[in-house]
């Protein structure tokens, strides 16, 4: 578990910064990640079954937000209250698909903070690989996307959206999108457990973030707004998933690879921060 291992079953706890021993830290991280698979699976099964057992409508809640958004926005668009540009696929399908992707990103972003807060009592009492909570959380994001996939497949059939072979790469882009959300969320998780301001600020940031991401509108080409949207790391990832799934042509390949680098590198960095910060967080949260 945490601490510097000297012997397979021996653990040493010292006050020194673990970051001073990067090799040992990395070994511990690998070890804990592997050790937490079983537990992560258990926690995921526990959380998902608890959630659905306490819900009458169940999976319905995974479908509702994209559908409601699509109906509202399509009505607004048809009434010309809202003026969105030309989209590559029919607008209701565009909104629903994009919303499902955006929601997945938001879940990945909020997940770590919420999961760590929910696991406070457990964290305060038992020393288990802290990675398990996060892995379980990522698993739940994947599970939820799986449900949304049903909606997406239905959309593709109803709107007769053409599908070509690059769609097989869409999951890779999706994983990068989830990685980006998790990277941000994981970075905020330790501090978000201490200060309530973080989860609150996060929900505010998410609603603002939606407006600079091409979810309900196609990527703008000119003006300050276009620059904002371009510099948003979510944009290339989300657009690429959509591109690969619908047309097969990546419209922002360079930006995609940069954003992917940010996502994967950021995730690793956040993981290190999370690991190092958690004992200090636990020290302050316990009753």
């Amino acid at each position: 578990m945490t601490g510097r291992d000297r012997h397979p079953s021996e653990t040493l706890y010292t006050p020194e910064s673990r970051i001073r021993y990067p090799r040992q830290l990395w070994a511990d991280m690998k070890h804990d990640l592997l050790a937490s698979r079983d537990l992560a699976w258990r926690l995921m099964v526990r959380d998902i079954s608890a959630r659905y057992r306490q819900s009458f409508l169940g999976v319905f809640w995974a479908f509702v937000p994209p559908i409601v958004a699509a109906i509202g926005l399509t009505l607004a668009s048809n009434a010309e209250v809202l003026n969105v540009g030309e989209t590559s696929i029919p607008y209701p399908a565009y909104v629903m698909f994009s919303m499902a992707l955006w929601q997945t990103f938001v879940e990945a972003l909020n997940g770590p903070v919420q999961a760590v807060i929910a696991a406070k009592p457990m964290l305060a009492r038992i020393n288990f690989p802290r990675e398990a909570i996060i892995l379980s959380q990522i698993g739940q994001v994947g599970f939820n996307f799986g449900i949304k996939l049903v909606l997406i497949v239905a959309l593709f059939i109803i709107f007769r959206i053409p599908v070509s072979w690059p769609i097989i790469f869409a999951p890779i882009a999706l994983i990068h999108l989830i990685a980006l959300g998790t990277a941000f969320g994981l970075l905020l998780a330790p501090i978000g457990t201490l200060y309530e301001d973080v989860p609150r600020g996060l929900s505010l940031a998410v609603s603002a973030w939606l407006f600079i991401t091409p979810v309900i509108f196609p990527p703008p080409q000119t003006g300050l707004f276009a620059v904002l949207v371009q510099w948003n790391p979510v944009t290339p990832l989300l657009v690429t998933v959509r591109d690969l799934a619908t047309g097969g042509v990546m419209s922002q390949p360079l930006a995609f690879w940069i954003a992917s680098g940010v996502a994967v590198g950021g995730l690793f960095l956040s993981w290190v921060v999370y690991r190092i910060a958690m004992p200090f967080v636990i020290e302050r949260i316990s009753a």
Binding site: G3, Y13, S17, I19, D38, L39, R53, P121, I276, R284
Partner: protein
């Protein structure tokens, strides 16, 4: 065995050649906490930042509003040993357990653990009330570090031990609190740890379950599991641990044989550090501004001849003498005496109240000695504490002496008794046989009225 190292070098030397049997070494561990929540959170962020840039070296100073929750604590634990951790609330016992289990980092010193630790601190951690007992066993034992295969192997044992039976497939919210606690205990105890940390949890469940827990703990210990047991109940520690550490405000006050440590703990607990010199407790004169009109000057026991007794003997006559100084004339003065036996957690064994006995006094200004005469001392042999308070009427407390300690010796005729019964035995000659037979038949008629 529990060793206490005085210097760091000796500890490191010992560390270079570690004993294979030592499963836990705690060396010069200190931990600081903060009293203010806002500041504590801020320090948390500060600590994280320092840790991330690699700035922590293990020589910290106290920051504003911080205090040492643990200071320079050292101990060792070998396979199959049980160590008791004693101390009042807030003395740092739980903090120490949390450092040992790796939940929080020490601020100085180090902890080395060989093998798996199971904390019996958090029973049923991760229990979800909507899931069934079965699902919760898997989740909980997984959190405690077992693989799915290991859990499946032990599953039957866990259920059997917890006596859940049919309810295993019912959601946990339908369980009684006792059932949930038993299930949590059973999960934790079946993880086969090398070290078991037990924090005040042996209070769950009914007496039958408790007995089973003790049997299981005994069995684990036979198999070489080492224990650290935290309890307020001296009996639990005395019965399980040969060695104990007594923490007082984060510092090891005493360590060693449990009996000696426990005696020190009880003495501190009841006496609050005050000492009795000889057999008379003399209280320092109180400044006029603090006095409530009447002060207790000294307390002692005397025999009927007026000699001060160093200790008492069951069944002997004794006089309790309380010397008083009245600064003014007071009416309705009465004395209350509570005798507490040290070995029974300080429960009151005997209470004597002046007002109950209708013995209230008119006290004139000046010196007096209030005497309470016991023709036979009824207390059984043992160590006692006497709490004396003197009041005007029922509520107005004039002065209190929290603890006057004394011991009672046996008079040699006290075996199997918890108090002394004054008695006299005699053989009384009876008039004649006929009377005796008549009375015998009376008894027969009485006991069998239907015949």
């Amino acid at each position: 065995m529990t060793y206490l190292y005085q210097d760091q070098d000796a500890a490191w030397d010992a560390d270079q050649s570690p004993d294979q049997d030592t499963v836990l070494t705690v060396q010069q561990v200190s931990k600081k906490f903060c009293r203010s929540l806002r500041r504590s959170l801020f320090y948390g962020v500060q600590d994280i930042a320092t840790e991330l840039i690699g700035g922590r070296t293990g020589q910290p100073d106290l920051r504003y509003q911080e205090f040492w929750a643990l200071q320079q604590v050292s101990l060792k634990l070998k396979r199959g040993e049980a160590l008791g951790l004693i101390g009042a609330n807030g003395s740092g016992k739980t903090t120490l357990l949390r450092i040992i289990s790796g939940l929080i980092k020490p601020d100085t010193g180090w902890v080395r653990v060989r093998g798996k630790i199971a904390p019996l601190i958090a029973l049923g951690a991760g229990f979800s009330p909507v899931l069934t007992g079965r699902e919760n066993i898997y989740a909980n034992m997984s959190i405690l570090g077992l693989s799915t295969q290991q859990i499946t192997q032990r599953f039957e044992q866990v259920v059997e031990f917890a006596e859940i039976g049919e309810a295993i497939d019912a959601p946990v919210y339908s369980y009684s609190s006792g059932m949930a606690a038993r299930l949590g205990f059973s999960c934790a105890i079946h993880t086969d740890p090398e070290i078991l940390l037990i924090d005040e949890v042996l209070a769950v469940g009914d007496i039958k379950f408790l007995a089973r827990c003790h049997r299981r703990l005994h069995q684990l210990r036979q198999n070489g599991t080492a224990f650290v047991l935290v309890s307020h109940n001296p009996q639990a520690i005395l019965s399980m641990c040969q060695q104990s550490v007594y923490l007082q405000k984060g510092i090891v006050r005493m360590a060693g044989e449990t009996e000696a440590v426990m005696a020190q703990y009880e003495e501190d607990l009841f006496l609050g550090g005050a000492r009795k010199v000889s057999s008379v407790l003399h209280l320092p004169p109180r400044p006029a501004c603090e006095s409530l009109g009447l002060d207790i000057a000294s307390i002692c026991f005397r025999n009927p001849a007026g000699e001060v007794l160093p200790d008492l003997t069951s069944g002997e006559p004794v006089v309790l003498c309380v010397r008083l100084q009245a600064h003014q004339s007071l009416s309705q003065v009465n004395l209350r005496l509570s005798f507490m036996e040290m070995s029974k957690d300080g429960q009151t064994t005997l209470y004597l109240g002046g007002s109950n006995d209708k013995e209230v006094f008119q006290v004139a200004a000046g010196w007096h000695e209030l005497q309470v005469e016991f023709p036979y001392l009824g207390l059984a042999p043992g160590a006692y504490l006497l709490r004396v308070d003197i009041r005007r009427e029922a509520l107005f407390i004039l002065d209190i002496v929290e603890s006057f300690s004394f011991t009672v010796q046996s008079n040699g005729r006290m075996s199997k008794s918890s108090f002394y019964q004054p008695r006299s035995w005699r053989l009384v000659p009876q008039p004649d046989r006929l009377d005796q037979e008549r009375s015998a038949s009376d008894i027969l008629n009485y006991t069998h009225p239907n015949i």
